[in-house]
């Protein structure tokens, strides 16, 4: 403020009322943009593959546009002051994911495989269900603080969801990771994706009540605040649960996600760095401990340390009781051949990755066809979603909303990190899906619901305070003095 330089002279600035624009029109403009980009990509794939604009362009564009439009109308009606960026960002990522999945459907190499199914129409349906969930969250969840009442029910619910894949007959083992359940007649479901949201509700409700005890009752030792033994209870319980997930479901990603989310929320609730130190130590100890005896995890670590060796073992058809996979190496080659600017839509060979090319490894397709520039843009889109989530947490006035928003966006960020890091070879690969981009119904639906909750919190946070009404009593009532 310039007035600080000449404080003595005069009063140079005035403060008006805070403008509280709802920013819905900004959102609409961005949404149009977010629908046009995937349509452009879709046309580009068709032109590159068979020299013509693909036949489904109109229906695809209309489908995506309709979804975005419905989402927008719902936000306009149900959460008018919500953040203008979250919906367009999610729509764009979802649309680009659909294009990449459709592009991989066109690959003859994948079509020749035994397990091939047209994934793009299904993903479009899942996305529509996801947007329906999004609208439903906005419609039924009028105030996010209602969720606070279900703190301990959410805990039980999350545990049930996490344990479902272990129930015999219901669990469904896909390539070593037991994270699916099979519902007869409906297909498979990944309950962990939903558990992520439910668990965030529990952590937020729990930490809101307990944060003072966790933050203040501690002793100082070597620059760290050591919490009391009894306050360590919950973090140890969550740690044990995540280790159990790791052991019984052999799913490194989910385990890391839950523990990481808890540590993030604990840190935000208590402002104690020592929790982060403890969290990192405990997850390191847990991961190393489990990896030392669990063969599935060992294979993943092997493939991470030396992907080329795995590739050769797989090519040579070595049968030693462990599934060797060439995927990790193929993904790295895809990134490498993409270079800085990529090969262009439809002109890469990421289909060499094989069966998981459109789910776990979808980022490799983007890496090859859009190059470093494209992947960076995608990661920035994710970063923007996370930033808006954190911003929502900052703006939220109630501690529960703050913690819930930070938990959900933290979980989102961790998931992106775990998947992208795994595909790029930074950390061992885990069986998780890139939010919105990857093929998979549970993931798309759960993440749309997550965006819905964030929008609800952000609407509450950004809604302007009601204008002070002049009290009518002040005029009417007369004080009668004798």
């Amino acid at each position: 403020m310039s007035s600080t330089s000449n404080p003595s002279t005069q009063h140079t600035s005035t403060i008006g009322a805070i403008g509280a624009p709802s920013r819905r029109n900004t959102e609409l403009a961005l949404l149009v943009f977010a629908v046009v980009i995937p349509v452009f990509a879709y046309a580009n794939v068709g032109l590159a593959l068979d020299d013509q604009v693909p036949a489904g362009l109109l229906s695809y564009g209309l489908g995506l546009g309709l979804m975005a439009g419905l989402g927008h109308l719902a936000v306009r009606k149900l959460a008018p002051y919500a953040d203008p960026l979250l919906l367009p960002l999610a729509t764009l990522l979802n649309g680009l994911g659909l294009v990449a999945i459709w592009r991989l459907d066109q690959s003859e190499r994948l079509q020749a495989s035994r397990t091939f199914v047209e994934a793009a129409p299904r993903q479009l349906m899942y996305s529509a269900i996801g947007v329906a969930f999004f609208v439903a969250v906005l419609f039924f969840l009028k105030d996010h603080r209602v969720l606070q009442r279900y703190t301990y029910i959410s805990m039980a619910g999350a545990l049930v969801l996490l344990l479902l894949p272990l129930v015999p007959g219901l669990g469904h083992n896909v390539f070593g990771a037991k994270i699916w359940i099979k519902i007869p007649g409906l297909g498979t479901l990944q309950p962990g994706e939903f558990a992520k949201i439910v668990l965030a509700v529990f952590f937020a409700g729990y930490l809101m009540v307990k944060r003072d005890a966790l933050a203040l009752a501690s002793r100082r030792f070597m620059g760290l605040y050591l919490p009391r033994g009894r306050d360590l209870g919950p973090i140890i319980v969550v740690w044990i649960i995540s280790i159990l997930i790791l052991v019984f479901e052999t799913d490194l990603g989910t385990s890391l996600l839950f523990f990481g989310m808890f540590v993030i929320m604990l840190y935000v609730a208590t402002e104690r760095t020592s929790w982060i130190v403890f969290g990192l130590l405990m997850s390191a100890v847990g991961a190393v401990g489990v990896a030392s005896f669990e063969p599935h995890i060992q294979t993943r670590v092997q493939a991470w340390l030396d992907p080329m060796r795995e590739f050769e073992l797989s090519r040579a058809g070595v049968q030693d009781g462990i599934v060797h996979s060439e995927q990790a190496m193929q993904a790295l080659w895809a990134f490498g051949s993409g270079g800085t600017l990529g090969s262009g839509w439809g002109q890469g060979h990421s289909d060499l990755i094989g069966f998981a090319a459109n789910s776990d490894f979808i980022l490799a397709t983007f890496g090859e066809e859009l190059g470093l520039a494209g992947v960076m843009a995608l990661l920035l889109l994710y970063a923007l979603i996370v930033e808006r989530g954190v911003r929502t947490a900052l703006a939220a006035r109630d501690p529960f909303g703050k913690l819930l928003a930070i938990g959900l966006s933290g979980a989102f960020a961790l998931q992106v990190f775990v998947v992208a890091g795994g595909v790029m070879g930074l950390i061992p690969l885990t069986g998780m899906t890139m939010p919105f981009l990857a093929y998979g119904g549970s993931s798309v639906i759960a993440n749309w619901a997550l965006i819905g909750i964030l929008l609800r919190i952000s609407d509450t946070a950004r809604r302007p305070a009601p204008a002070p009404v002049s009290n009518p009593d002040a005029e009417m009532t007369q004080v009668v003095r004798p």
Partner: protein, 169 residues
């Protein structure tokens, strides 16, 4: 499809994708400015004229509304010390919140202020009251620390951390 067309499309797509990212960041940028601040340093003369034009309706409103409001009704709140020195807020019957929270009427950039530090509001008789909202370092009227909502007299300094504000006619 010719090589050239595909290259143009490839680069065009990347450009459009990045354009989206940049537009999105531009939308965020506007969030950085919470409160609208109008600088009037250069146009002080114009500002004064405007104030003169606005003054009569205000006074009419006040005299018509309260009846009991006398000559000593403050019309503005002025920050006299601290980083916001020189800021004025017109008093028009609204509650004024002070604190570091970005949605406060006066956002204090002061290490000694709490996020929701104090509020200033008119009671039924139009008397302005200052109330401490449970701040850490307290709100002082003259030299005394506030414990209850207290009426403010004209020109009495209200101290919050390093910031001093007062009501003026």
């Amino acid at each position: 499809m010719s090589e050239l067309t595909l290259t143009v499309m490839r680069l065009g797509f990347l450009a459009v994708l990045w354009l989206f990212v940049i537009v999105a960041v531009q939308v965020i940028r506007s969030d950085l400015f919470g409160t609208r601040v109008t600088q009037r340093g250069a146009r002080r003369e114009a500002g004064r004229q405007q104030a003169n034009r606005q003054a009569p309706p205000q006074q009419r409103q006040q005299s018509g509304g309260g009846g009991r409001r006398g000559r000593n009704t403050p019309t503005k709140l002025v920050v006299t010390e601290g980083t916001l020195t020189g800021t004025t807020v017109a008093l028009q019957g609204q509650t004024i919140t002070l604190g570091r929270a970005h949605d406060s009427t006066i956002v204090l950039d002061d290490d000694y202020a709490s996020s929701r530090h104090a509020r200033i509001y008119p009671d039924r008789d139009g008397q302005w009251i200052v109330e401490d909202l449970g701040s850490t370092n307290g709100t002082y009227l003259d030299r005394t620390r506030l414990t209850t909502p207290t009426p403010i007299s004209l020109g009495a300094p209200i101290r919050i951390g390093k910031t001093v504000i007062e009501l003026r006619k």
